[in-house]
């Protein structure tokens, strides 16, 4: 087993940062959730402990650029990673078909949770309402993310600096 070192986590951090910036610069109706695709494609082949750390790192990066607090982002992304870790014991989630299906479901789950948390926080703070995502936009992002996940499951573990984070020990 290859051991992940600080520089590999730094590489993951840089890739997450680039994913966010690219998503921001290219954003459109069919823009996939690049951060989620990157994280899940990697987590499918990581050790449990490191996959959880990757989820928390992704949550910190995401929260530092968006209005989403890192607790909410962390709960959403860690939940997604835990789901992947559970499913991969009986399904090959790094195969393109299953990676796509998994990603399609995770986009709904993660953003649905984000909406739920935003609505709950607005309720407790008595700060107006937070409307949920439009179903069309939801489906577009889920489809594009699912399509990208089919490629990402092969590409992401080979990205410079990330291969030492990948393992098959589970």
């Amino acid at each position: 087993m290859k051991r992940a070192r600080p520089q590999h986590w730094l590489a993951l951090f840089v890739w997450l940062l680039l994913a966010l910036l690219a998503q921001s610069a290219l954003g459109g109706r069919w823009m996939p959730d690049l951060c989620l695709v990157l994280l899940i494609s990697l987590a499918a082949r990581m050790e449990e402990r490191e996959a959880a750390l990757a989820a928390l790192l992704a949550a910190f990066v995401r929260a530092s650029f968006t209005g989403e607090g890192w607790i909410v982002a962390g709960a959403g992304l860690l939940g997604a990673v835990l789901l992947v870790l559970s499913v991969r014991s009986f399904l090959e989630v790094s195969a393109p078909l299953y990676a796509s299906l998994m990603m399609f479901a995770l986009v709904f789950a993660v953003s649905g949770f984000g909406w739920l948390a935003a609505a709950a926080r607005a309720y407790w703070a008595q700060a107006g309402s937070v409307a949920g995502p439009a179903s069309a936009a939801w489906a577009q992002v889920a489809l594009s993310s699912a399509g990208l996940a089919a490629l990402a499951c092969w590409i992401v573990p080979r990205l410079p600096g990330l291969s030492p984070l990948v393992s098959r020990k589970w």
Binding site: A63, L85, S111, S129, A131, P133
Partner: protein, 448 residues
């Protein structure tokens, strides 16, 4: 770290996401400060997608917004000379609708103006209410501010007259079957013959006990409407103005022998002095269903939650949460956000306050923004009187954290539908801009 530990950690985060605990939230914010700095360092990589337009266009927009606000001020002066004679007219702008309940508003006027408790408040030829508190140093209200009570308040009373009758009215009738949008004023006592459709005007008795209330004599309240109640004859008054959302600027009537009143508002909200320039962390958000941004400025720069964020004369949104170094911006495009809106019908018609509009949806690809407007019957009547239905929407008065006169977009109004979906196409650069201005009213006031 075992699977069980991860699950416990996740469940703790899950619980804290749904029910935030203030000390933990604060600790989490401090923990994430280094990451926020990273987003500031990455700012040079962040390119806005569309080129910024020239300053000539911006100046033209600022000019048209100023003209709109001047027309709005002019529209609250009564056209009938008899309503102006022997009175001092003091302009005031509503700066807070929510702080004192729906029937009490806070207005700002020239600090030197002779405003006193009991003075009547009007808008155009319509009666609005009266001053109940004047701001002084050391009180909740600042000098140059006053609290007014609308005639719609339950315990408000005013003596009014029709052609052949005298009425005591004030407060709202219990809700009619048309729902909250058809609000009518309650008639508590009557003497003389009442005729449906007759105009009801303020008619306070001229005696020393009436005080300044007589200054409102002749101002219109509304029209008489029969309102049978429990088999008996009853009456109510349909008001001429929309007391909930239709007020942006008003006039306070003072006796003529008082010191001269300033005839203009204290300051121009579009002056540079009140704005702080800042930069957004990203031109767009990775969260596809929300339109929020992170701003690289916070309480350290004197910014406060709720402050307006604008760019080149366009309204963008407001600060939802402010921390020491960064703030979260909730854009107008974010579903569920709201803004007080002033509609510009063109130079020939007076602007109209539409009240609070809520965002229903936004399409990033096309810039199509849908705003919900719950129109009152009084507002629809005002729209029907206008020749032009194509309007430009701007921010309106009524929120001290959002200056009036910032452009939102163009749309078309209907004079018949009480629930309207106003469709606006936002300029492409608005979604992609990273250079913004944040409103700091305290700086603006000290500057003026």
């Amino acid at each position: 770290m075992s699977r069980n530990t991860l699950v416990i950690l996740w469940m703790a985060l899950l619980a804290l996401s749904l029910r935030p605990v203030a000390p933990i939230e604060r600790a989490a914010e401090w923990l994430s400060v280094p990451m926020r700095l990273v987003s500031a360092l990455a700012a040079p990589l962040n390119l806005s997608r569309t080129a910024q337009a020239g300053s000539e266009e911006d100046q033209a927009l600022a000019q048209s917004a100023r003209q709109l606000l001047q027309r709005e001020q002019a529209s609250v002066v009564p056209a009938d000379p008899s309503l102006v004679q022997e009175r001092n007219l003091i302009h005031a702008e509503i700066v807070d609708r929510g702080a004192a309940g729906e029937d009490r508003l806070i207005v700002r006027h020239a600090a030197a103006a002779p405003v006193q408790v009991g003075l009547p408040v009007v808008a155009g030829s319509a009666y609005v209410g009266r001053v109940i508190e004047v701001g002084r140093a050391g009180t909740v209200l600042l000098p140059g501010e006053a609290r007014i009570e609308l005639i719609t308040r339950e315990d408000a009373r005013v003596e009014a007259r029709t052609q052949n009758a005298v009425l005591i009215l004030g407060g709202l009738c219990s809700q009619s079957r048309d729902g909250a949008r058809a609000r009518q004023l309650a008639v508590h006592a009557q003497q003389g013959e009442l005729v449906p459709g007759e105009t009801v005007r303020v008619g306070e008795r001229v005696d020393p006990m009436s005080g300044a209330a007589v200054l409102a004599n002749g101002y219109t309240i509304g029209t008489l409407v029969p309102r049978p109640h429990g088999g008996r004859e009853g009456w109510s008054v349909a008001p001429v103005i929309d007391y909930r959302g239709g007020l942006g600027q008003v006039l306070i009537l003072a006796p003529q022998n008082t010191a001269s009143a300033a005839d203009l508002l204290v300051h121009d909200p579009l002056e540079r002095a009140g704005w702080f320039s800042a930069r957004l962390a990203l031109a767009a958000t990775p969260c596809f269903w929300r339109e929020t941004r992170r701003l690289h400025a916070g309480t350290r720069q004197g910014l406060s939650s709720g402050a307006c964020v604008a760019a080149r004369g366009h309204y963008l949104g407001r600060l939802e949460q402010t921390e020491w170094l960064v703030s979260d911006v909730r854009l107008l495009e974010d579903p569920g956000s709201s803004v007080l809106v002033l509609a510009d019908f063109g130079v020939e018609d007076a602007p109209l306050h539409l009240g609070l509009l809520h965002t229903r949806s936004f399409d990033r690809a096309t810039g199509r923004l849908e705003l919900e407007w719950q129109a009152g019957v009084e507002a629809l009547r005002q729209v029907a009187l206008r020749r032009n239905r194509r309007v430009d929407l701007y921010t309106g008065s009524g929120d001290r954290w959002v200056p009036a006169g910032l452009r939102i977009g163009s749309t078309e109004l209907s004079a018949s539908r009480t629930e309207q979906l106003l469709v606006i196409t936002r300029p492409a650069w608005v979604a992609g801009t990273v250079e913004v201005d944040v409103w700091r009213p305290q700086q603006q006031e000290s500057g003026s």
